[in-house]
Symmetry: C2
């Protein structure tokens, strides 16, 4: 007995708050609510749905956290532009995430790093390249790069993609990425070998090379991390 019982999902018994949250989100999309549109007030919603105002407020509190709705005290609520990454931001804490989630995010960052080449070449400006050169010239003199140096260089790259969401997403992923790699390093006790492709090399390719060459260079630059995979 009990064989394969683990495969049975529990019937999700949603609380009133959960259900109202879902209903409201559906209601907003079905009726094509757009940012700025006025929402019915809390009491109306509560009466329509036949639940207490408390329940409605708890549901709305969630949507407010996501930035979907904005409450203007004493003037009613309006639809609003949600913050795409607001929800994920509060959750990306290495100490709460599961091991596998952390690993997934570690890999996700590697994927992103390899994928930005086209955008860098499409959008790089002379000003960007000058600023990047300052960074790599400074780092060339250092015997070893700190975490901050890494962030400065790669952060500038994300900057140059001109994609704000991507930029912020990266910075959210970084702590988890660092944490995973630090944990791995502790276990494996690997020798820190000199970077076969340095930040300076990447800069040169970005300035004078092609996206293909840049991807290839980045792949080698990240090999320390890719070596931990699979």
């Amino acid at each position: 007995m009990n064989s394969k019982l683990g495969l049975l999902e529990p019937l999700e018994s949603l609380s009133m708050t959960d259900r109202v949250e879902n209903i409201l989100r559906e209601y907003f999309t079905e009726n094509a609510f757009k940012p700025g549109d006025a929402l019915p007030n809390e009491l109306e919603i509560a009466q329509k749905l036949n639940v207490s105002r408390n329940v409605v407020r708890e549901a709305l509190s969630r949507l407010r956290m996501l930035g979907m709705v904005e409450a203007r005290p004493r003037r009613g609520m309006i639809m609003s532009q949600p913050d795409v990454l607001g929800g994920i931001e509060k959750v990306l804490n290495p100490f709460i995430l599961s091991q596998s989630n952390q690993q997934d995010i570690f890999e996700l960052r590697l994927i992103l790093e390899m994928g930005i080449a086209e955008f860098l070449f499409a959008r790089k400006t002379d000003k960007d390249l000058d600023e990047l050169e300052l960074i790599v010239e400074k780092q060339k003199k250092l015997p070893v790069l700190s975490k901050e140096d890494e962030i400065e260089f790669h952060g500038k790259l994300y900057d140059m993609t001109g994609n704000e969401t991507f930029q912020r997403f990266q910075s959210l992923l970084f702590p988890v990425f660092e944490h995973v790699f630090a944990t791995l390093s502790k276990q494996e006790e690997q020798a820190v070998i000199a970077d076969p492709v340095s930040h300076y090399d990447l800069f040169r390719v970005l300035k004078e090379g092609t996206p293909e060459e840049f991807r290839q260079a980045m792949r080698v630059h990240l090999s320390v991390y890719y070596n931990t995979i699979k």
Copy 2:
């Protein structure tokens, strides 16, 4: 007058609920709460913070939505594994997101698609390749590929990365991606030219080629989308 006044950010006047939410999240991380740990009950929290139980419940309701805490009726609350993408999922609605957010996500998907090569080659199995072959053989016979065909092929690729979070992330991004591209296509009225690199070609490279070759092939395959950039 009024010069550059737009640059002044309003002093954020946080509601009690906002503040309690922040305080609780800090409290959990500072005190190294781990999944499974018991939490103080609502009344205790309310009294310690000198707010009403309502405010505490609204804050906890948010954390519950994120999956950070789990409430077991009549047995107290415990810490829990948050769902990394749960927050973003509820917000990725093309009709609510701003134009620039949509564009960012469109680009983000292109970045991801270009970045997965290493993982595909590191983790592909014969079984995967067989399944992929079935898909591309079927599609080779079709005169034109539908949206579902695209999802089937690329979805299988994400599958093969073995990264569940990435997989789900992709599928969340897709509707926004589609929406942006559909809007662009309507404006530009571009001729739909035959794919210079088909799904079948990608399959062949994945089976017998190298990551570099795959990235190059994928870049060409995605050129319809990259042409819209910048």
